[in-house]
Amino acid sequence: MPKKVKKSFYLDYSILIPYLVLCGIGLIMIYSASSYKLLVNHLDPASLAINQAIYFVLSLLLITFIYKMKMKIFEHRNVITFSTFVIGVLLILTRFTSLGVVVNGAQGWLKIPGLGQLQPAEFLKIMIIWYLSYIISKRQGEIITNFKDATLRPLLVVLGLIFLVAIQPDNGGAAILFLIAVLMLLASGVNYLYSLIFGGSIAIGSLLGIKLIVWSGGKIFPKNLKYVYDRFAVFANPFLDAQGDGHQIVNSYYAIYNGGLFGVGLGNSTQKKGFLPEAQTDFMFSIVLEELCLIIAVLILCLLLFLVLRIILVGIRAKNPFNSLMCIGVGGMILIQTFINIGGISGLIPLTGVTFPFISQGGSSLLMLSISIGLVLNISADEKKNKHNEMVVNMQEITEG
């Protein structure tokens, strides 16, 4: 019998350390970005940072808890069904009851008496990954032979949940969820060339679609969706309406420009002083660029990239299909969210109001990401342990043989 090895032995530090560093940077930057406005409004300048720190501590506890659990539990049908059901109920409560709170025009927050507010759509991200990983891993054989039948039903469930987010209305959130679902299907094990063609088509199609919308002048939209077009028009040239719809992106440019190569110094941002709204959430990274400069911002991006790549790599190497899908899902999710956030604040794609992972302020987002990291750490350890055990078995066979 192989000697029992403690689970902490398999802890993947190349995931944990980047995560901790990013969260640390986040806490500092949240304080920097939010304190001025809080002070001006006669509030405790550290309140948002402290709030985030509480969520961070909670996150660490969650990670520990998830890491300690056996992977088998996450592959248990009833656990997944129950979780999916809970998320669905929360989403319905958020949208259709008085427990839902409207922020920035979207009824996306759920008031939990005594605990504060949660954003169920955030948790749906990891839920979709988890749910689809489970279903797909169970149907690996059918994926090759009958992809449609294997994926249609779970896909409908997922689309239904995404629909509950879209009607909040949170288009940015729904788009991310949809992209995550698509990624899960592409990584399901289906012919990778199909994936490549399909994924490429989505990317090129989106680019052409944006061009078409801007070029159309908004005529293709019904009146009640006019605001969607406005976002695209302003995206094409934010300076057209620098005081109105282009206000945020223009001020994001100013922040990035102010920072330059060397930055204005931590705490010295001008743009956070009322010029750039949502400084500590959607435009967190603009403030990072302004205060800490391009070089450090790129280093932070590299750290995040390293984390994403590392997670994907665990996914690529994983033997267990569920583990592999989970990791590719989580890595893809972080990548998608980063792409939509950074793309938005740098004017590459239309703004959607998505936060920057780990660094932007937001309890739900951090909790969800931490849960994801916890799962990935567990998977990484699980895979290592299996490999280790295999080796031990092989060695025993060799010695015995």
């Binding site: 690996q140 994926i143 090759i144 990624l183 592409l186 990584a187 399901s188 094990g189 289906v190 012919n191 990778y192 060339l193 199909y194 994936s195 490549l196 994924g199 040239n237 300076f239 620098a242 223009v250 440019y253 100013y254 990035i256 420009y257 102010n258 920072g259 330059g260 190569l261 001008t270 002083k273 009322g274 010029f275 660029l289 391009l294 911002a297 790129v298 991006l301 590299c302 995040l304 990239l305 994403v308 790549l309 994907i312 790599l313 996914g315 690529i316 033997k319 299909p321 592999s324 899908l325 590719i328 890595g331 893809g332 990548l335 980063t338 792409f339 950074i342 740098s346 004017g347 590459l348």
Partner: protein, 612 residues
């Protein structure tokens, strides 16, 4: 066919699910690297400072940096003793707020309430003179042409240009009654506390930009116009950093450029004499309605102008007189040239004495004289028989002057120049006229001896007279005593001797002969008219013909006088011209002129205003 082949090809490349996923993972891996690379490039691009053709450097500067103009105070115009003639002020205009949403702390109603309308009308009637019914109708709720409710109303021209005093009175009266809703806006303004006061010498001011009173005032006409640059000063500039609502961040204000207040111009005018002169002019204008009039009182030894004015004139505050058909827009003292007539004879006699051709006791036959093809007559063509040349001046004989001119034909033409005619006095005022000399024929030249065929300005005449009054030394007529810069440094305008056309002896001799004008009972044209009790006066009258359309008018003249007093040591020169007055029966034109010149000169003599 191709489709099938493609499908087949794709199928042939199919792997097992695990390997397919691995490939997807690798693709995702590569995509992540690509995406992050694009971000880094995009950030670098933005950092370079241009998005399309928009410069972020310019935009951020616009966003963060504000500036504010510090208005320079326009310099004052003062009289010789430092009393203000024109100074910067603020004017106020009334408005009422009718908007019912205009509430203060604790929902205090700050708009005009219905119950207060009557009382407000009373107050505005009392202090501004507005019709009560007009005020009440203005205060009722109204809609504009677009059908929107009007939120604030003004009260026409009468509700504008109010003084601080009026504003304070209204505010006090309303506060006593606890009435809200009446407010004032401030406008830069220039006050002229003396009203109509040497208006065409001082000038007036208007908004530099009609549509934007924050641009301040600019001078128009005369001193305000000619010295606008010195008076207006230079505006300063404050730069500051703006917060997100565009307000200055406290402590960031930096004075980029100090405002430099305008320079004060102290004139040579004497406020009391000037006011007196304006009164005298008003009364004569009213009584005899002349087409125009000018009057100047000058210090004999320095050329300093103590009082000077003209009619028509204007009020620099109300601008009355600057519009309508009587509006002149011309400073008659320097811009208008006219044939002076007999007052010119003073210079003819002076030139003859200086040229050595004048024998006061030599005689000639008065009445007429033939010059080439033209007969020149005295004002009384019958003449008064034989006259001495001294009497010729007193009686204002044209014939006598022509004789003198014929004795010094070349010299006289030179003396015309020496006395400063047909030359600028360099007054510094706008559009100065230098006059015209017509001397191509013998007749023309003869006529110049009695003030025709030559046109002059008041300033030129006055300058010439200083040579007679000041021992032969001709002084430039000056209206500025000194200019004081905002830092206190002064530029003093000392009396300026232009030249000395005649000797002291000649000058005094002319003064003696000019006394005959008022003292010679037989021949003096100003006898009993231009005398001033208690002082010896030298004078010369003038009744100049007016040339219009190439012909001299018959019954209309420019009546004028020059008085120099006291004869023994002249202190003042008074010069008055009245064009085309309506002369009532039994009144002489000279007495009308004397109604202005005598009282003013006497007051100056009595008060001893002169610095000498």
């Amino acid at each position: 066919m191709n489709k099938h082949r493609l499908k087949r090809y794709l199928r042939s490349k199919n792997l097992n699910p695990v390997n397919n996923r691995k490939k997807v993972g690798v693709i995702l891996f590569a995509t992540a690297i690509g995406v992050f690379l694009i971000f880094a490039i995009r950030f670098s691009y933005i950092m370079m400072g241009n998005i399309g053709n928009v410069s972020l450097a310019e935009k951020t500067a616009e966003l963060y940096k504000g500036s504010q103009i510090i208005k320079a105070k326009r310099g004052s115009i003062l009289d010789r003793n430092g009393d203000p003639i024109a100074e910067d002020a603020t004017s106020y205009s009334l408005y009422a707020i009718l908007d019912k949403n205009y509430l203060g702390i604790n929902k205090k109603k700050l708009y005009v309430q219905e119950k207060d309308r009557e009382k407000i009308a009373e107050v505005l009637n009392k202090y501004v003179g507005l019709e009560k019914s007009y005020v009440i109708s203005q205060l009722k709720p109204q809609k504009n042409k677009q059908g929107k409710t009007i939120t604030n109303v003004e009260f026409g021209t009468e509700g504008k240009g109010l003084t601080l005093e009026t504003k304070t009175n209204i505010e006090k009266a309303l506060k006593k009654e606890n009435i809200a809703g009446i407010y004032f806006t401030e406008h830069p303004a220039r006050s002229y506390p003396n009203g109509e006061f040497a208006s065409y010498l001082i000038g007036y001011t208007a908004y530099a930009d009609k549509n934007d009173d924050t641009k301040g005032m600019k001078g128009v006409l005369c001193i305000e116009g000619a010295y606008n640059k010195q008076l207006k000063g230079t505006d300063g500039k404050i730069v500051y950093q703006k917060d997100s609502s565009g307000n200055a961040i406290p402590g960031t204000q930096v004075v980029k450029k100090e405002a430099k207040d305008g320079e004060d111009i102290q004139t040579t005018l004497d406020r009391n004499l000037q006011l007196y002169l304006e009164d005298l002019m008003d009364s004569v204008e009213e009584k005899y309605s002349p087409e125009s009039m000018t009057a100047m009182l000058v210090e004999a030894k320095t050329g300093s102008i103590l009082a000077a004015t003209q009619r028509p004139s204007f009020d620099p505050v109300t601008k009355e007189g600057l519009s309508g058909e009587n509006a002149l827009w011309r400073n008659l003292l320097v811009e208008d040239s006219f044939e002076p007539g007999s007052t010119m004879k003073v210079f003819t006699v002076a030139a003859a004495i200086e040229a050595g051709v004048f024998d006061p006791n030599a005689t000639y036959q008065s009445g007429k004289i033939q010059v080439d093809d033209t007969q020149i007559s005295d004002w009384n063509p019958a003449g008064v028989g034989t006259l001495t040349y001294r009497q010729a001046l007193a009686w204002s004989s044209n014939v006598g002057m022509v004789h003198l001119e014929e004795m010094m034909p070349t010299a006289w033409q030179e003396y015309i120049k020496k006395f400063g005619f047909v030359k600028s006095t360099n007054s510094g005022l706008l559009n100065e006229n230098i006059g015209l000399l017509q001397n191509s024929t013998t007749v023309d030249r003869a006529m110049t001896a009695y003030g025709q065929a030559i046109s002059v300005t008041d300033f030129q005449m006055m300058q010439g007279f200083t040579a007679i009054a000041n021992n032969g030394k001709m002084m430039k007529p000056q209206y500025i005593k000194k200019i004081v810069k905002s830092d206190g440094t002064e530029k003093v305008y000392n009396p300026k001797e232009v030249s000395q056309p005649i000797s002291s002896t000649t000058a005094n001799q002319v003064l003696t002969y000019m006394q005959d004008v008022v003292n010679d009972a037989t021949y003096g044209t100003g006898y009993g008219i231009f005398n001033i009790d208690g002082y010896n006066v030298s004078a010369k009258t003038g009744t100049a013909q007016i040339s219009e359309n190439g012909k001299y008018l018959d019954d209309q003249y420019i009546h004028s006088v020059v008085q120099i007093a006291p004869t023994e040591d002249p202190e003042y020169i008074m010069y008055v011209t009245i064009k085309k007055p309506t002369i009532p029966a039994g009144t002489s034109a000279s007495s009308i002129v004397a109604e202005i010149s005598n009282p003013l000169l006497k007051r100056a003599l009595d008060l001893g205003v002169s610095d000498q």
